[in-house]
């Protein structure tokens, strides 16, 4: 039974680490299916984390969670203005938006600390047990003993899948990512669709950042997004730009992050920093094994000139 408990603990930690990644990767998926590479997701994540910490301290974790999404969306809006309206190069705007988010949150945090002292840990969402389901050995412990935000993510994956493949808006969005001129011929505006996709991407990434605070640590620290925005993009590539693949990719990355708990549990002597580097190496290997971006939307990263 001890082994099963170790496995259960490991999977529980894997799902916990995967949750913020899953939100951000779902956002990245929507943006990339609309043809936009948004490496500014990192900025949305860290703004989401900071806003959720501030608002949750005042109004509780539910309000903090929503505030995190809105803060992330505001960063998505900045990105959209430069990429869609001003048609600037996506990668450079993304790098700048990430810097903007990290710099703003670090500054605002310092202002808050100097005026009111370091914020106390906020009350977080506690694991929500579901009758019967949570009792299932290993599976129940891993997947159905999580905070409510994780259940929201479970619901979002099929919802986004349905939206992308079964609605007019979703089909138009994918058309913009594959062949913008075809979308125009069909009467859709790529600019409007990309803007909407980027706002959704920012909102979901902000929720991912908020998850770190209101469902996990209860505190905010500068740069706590720790590169998760970039991992999200790797997850999308690993998941071949499909919701199902992205869900699996997020779990794999969550699992690698959780390996550190497992190595402690079984007393396996591997330097901690090497374990921390593995998700990045895994992404590189996976991208090389998949030979780059065969499954990528055809117009991904292209700057649309005439709309």
């Amino acid at each position: 039974m001890a082994e099963m408990e170790v496995v259960g603990n490991f999977l529980e930690a894997a799902v916990r680490s995967a949750t913020p990644l899953g939100f951000a990767a779902l956002g990245a998926l929507i943006a990339e299916r609309a043809g936009v590479v948004n490496i500014g997701i990192e900025g949305s994540l860290v703004c989401g984390a900071f806003a959720s910490f501030v608002v949750a301290g005042l109004l509780g974790p539910e309000a903090g969670f929503v505030a995190g999404g809105l803060a992330g969306m505001s960063m998505g809006l900045v990105f959209a203005v430069f990429v869609v309206a001003l048609r600037a190069q996506q990668i450079i705007v993304g790098a700048a938006v990430s810097m903007l988010g990290l710099g703003l949150t670090a500054s605002l945090h310092r202002i808050a600390v100097s005026s009111t002292g370091p914020g106390a840990p906020i009350s977080t969402f506690l694991p929500l047990q579901v009758p019967v389901l949570s009792e299932i050995p290993v599976f129940g412990q891993a997947f159905i003993s999580q905070p409510v935000t994780t259940y929201l993510l479970y619901a979002l994956f099929p919802l986004v899948g349905w939206g992308l493949y079964r609605t007019v808006g979703g089909i138009a969005l994918r058309a913009v990512g594959e062949q913008p001129s075809a979308a125009v011929s069909a009467g859709h505006s790529p600019a409007r669709i990309q803007c909407a996709a980027l706002l959704a991407c920012g909102f979901l990434s902000g929720l991912g950042g908020a998850t770190l605070v209101v469902a996990q640590t209860g505190i905010y620290s500068d740069g706590m997004s720790a590169g998760r925005g970039y991992i999200a993009m790797a997850i999308v590539a690993l998941g071949r730009w499909t919701p199902r693949g992205v869900a699996a990719g997020a779990l794999i990355f969550g699992g690698v992050s959780a390996l550190q708990f497992l190595t402690q549990a079984v007393n396996w002597r591997v330097p901690y920093t090497i374990v921390l580097a593995t998700p990045y190496l895994l992404t590189l290997v996976a991208m090389a094994a998949l030979r780059g971006a065969r499954a990528a939307p055809a117009a991904l990263g292209r700057t649309l000139n005439r709309l």
Binding site: L86, I91, A96, M99, L100, G103, S107, A237, A277
Partner: protein, 343 residues
């Protein structure tokens, strides 16, 4: 001339926006501004030991980014290449000094360049062999490099007492000489200036530089001209860019910190993108923009120390500079052909 005016305008606007935010946050703006100006240019010490000391890494990393971007390669891994160079220089410095004495310094610099080139070379190989976009691979390698440094300073390179996560201090003979007694400006600064001139000459007057520029301004056109192997040129550009970033890392550790530790680079590699963009990817203009960013960093530190205003605002200003440069249509026209199609 027009682009110089535009860049100056963008920089001024970014500073003005940040000043407004600082004032709106309830700080004493004039006090903050005075602290910033004094900290950046107020005294010989401020200029030599704060501003120009900081300019050296910005200039080298800005040149590294410019070399790659001019050839149409999106190297956003200058941060990791910088760390690789610093770690290699540190390792060489710690182990070779008793044997080589003064000559260690040359070996440290060489090791830094090779390590930076090698770190970028991983991304170049992944691009060539497996079609992995360098945007993603160079970025991911930054995090790997940070973790490798974290491992080294807790393992093979840790100082003998094992109390702190950092390396031992480099011996004085294994350090870059200081230029002026009592000031912290080191020989890395003139090296960076020479590098800027060399890069300018390379782009202006050599056949290889011409191939770099042609590849950057249009892959298809460069390839159809028949004489340019665009894949090879981009690979060389990425590796050269990594070597320059590695040099920056080696100079930082042999000239400023003398020890390897985790926070060695406070995001220099990312700020370098702003430095290169503000300089319009022109090597000589990058000298000016690196100096501005050096002053900005020195001023921001003094502002935090003496007026309590968070230094993070300097990062915000840098981000606004990049966005501002992108917003200028003229710059857009100049840059857009460099990245056609996919990124």
């Amino acid at each position: 001339m027009a682009s110089l005016l535009a860049s100056t305008g963008v920089f001024t606007c970014a500073l003005a926006v940040v000043a407004l935010v600082i004032a709106a946050a309830g700080y004493d703006l004039s006090g903050a501004a005075r602290a910033a100006v004094e900290g950046a240019v107020g005294s010989p010490f401020a200029v030599l030991s704060a501003t120009l000391k900081r300019t050296a890494p910005f200039l080298m990393l800005g040149l590294a980014v410019a070399v790659a971007f001019r050839a149409g390669v999106l190297n956003i891994g200058a941060e990791g290449q910088f760390l690789a160079g610093a770690a290699a220089a540190c390792a060489v410095g710690l182990f070779a000094t008793p044997v080589l004495g003064r000559a260690t310094l040359l070996l440290e610099i060489a090791a830094g360049m090779v390590a930076g080139a090698g770190w970028a070379g991983i991304a170049a190989m992944l691009k060539r062999r497996f079609a992995v976009a360098e945007v993603v691979s160079t970025l991911l390698l930054n995090f790997v490099a940070a973790n490798v440094v974290a491992y080294l300073v807790r393992g093979p390179l840790q100082e003998p007492t094992g109390a702190y996560p950092q390396s031992s201090m480099l011996e004085p003979i294994a350090r870059l000489p200081l230029l002026i007694d009592g000031q912290r400006l080191h020989a890395g600064f003139p090296i960076a200036l020479i590098l800027a001139l060399a890069t300018w000459w390379f782009f202006r007057s050599t056949a290889a530089g011409f191939r770099f520029r042609m590849t950057g301004s249009g892959r298809a056109a460069a390839a159809s001209a028949g004489l340019i192997n665009v894949n090879a040129v981009q690979m060389h550009a990425l590796i050269a860019s990594g070597a320059i970033a590695g040099l920056a890392g080696a100079c930082e550790i042999t000239g400023v910190t003398y020890v390897l530790y985790e926070g060695l680079s406070p995001g220099y590699g990312y700020t370098a993108i702003a430095v290169a963009m503000l300089g319009g990817l022109h090597p000589l203009a990058v000298v000016a923009s690196a100096t501005l960013f050096g002053a900005l960093g020195a001023g921001a530190d003094a502002m935090q120390r003496n007026a309590g205003v968070p230094a993070g605002f300097a990062v915000v200003a840098a981000a606004l500079v990049v966005l501002g440069v992108l917003a200028i249509p003229r710059t857009l026209r100049l840059l857009r052909p460099a990245w056609p199609g996919r990124s």
